[in-house]
Symmetry: C2
């Protein structure tokens, strides 16, 4: 399993409740893709969101987000971490 | 204290040892700015690095990175997290 960070833009004004609902939608289906979303952070002023996950591939992570209704094309495989 | 994610570009081919050295340089001076760098992740293929920190302001976080020799202008205040 690898670690990934994906980035979403355009989430300006999104609330904690809305982020929680989006995250819950990921969690509900992630096992079908062998992905786990560990953490999500949001800056509602700029609209940037960051999701930290583990999974078999970028494509698997992106597919979960797409199926859950919040696709993104910006994702990085984090092979080094401290 | 607020939570921040800052993003660096251009770290293509940086090794785990080099990231550890950069992170150590931050840790050595962060207390002077009331900042704490909790975690750093790197994708050495794209050269993107993400640093998660807590501190009093974006400026304080950026100032630590600048003093440690790896400035970035891309930083987000993460007022919502899951």
């Amino acid at each position: 399993m690898a670690t990934f960070m994906d980035v979403h833009s355009g989430f300006v004004g999104v609330t904690a409740e809305e982020l929680a609902a989006a995250h819950a939608a990921d969690l509900q289906i992630e096992a079908e893709e062998s992905v786990h979303f560990e953490k999500a952070w949001l800056d509602p002023e700029s609209g940037k969101a960051f999701c930290l996950s583990t999974g078999p591939s970028k494509e698997a992570v992106m597919h979960v987000h797409e199926r859950a209704g919040h696709p993104t094309a910006e994702i990085y495989e984090l092979s080094i971490q401290i």
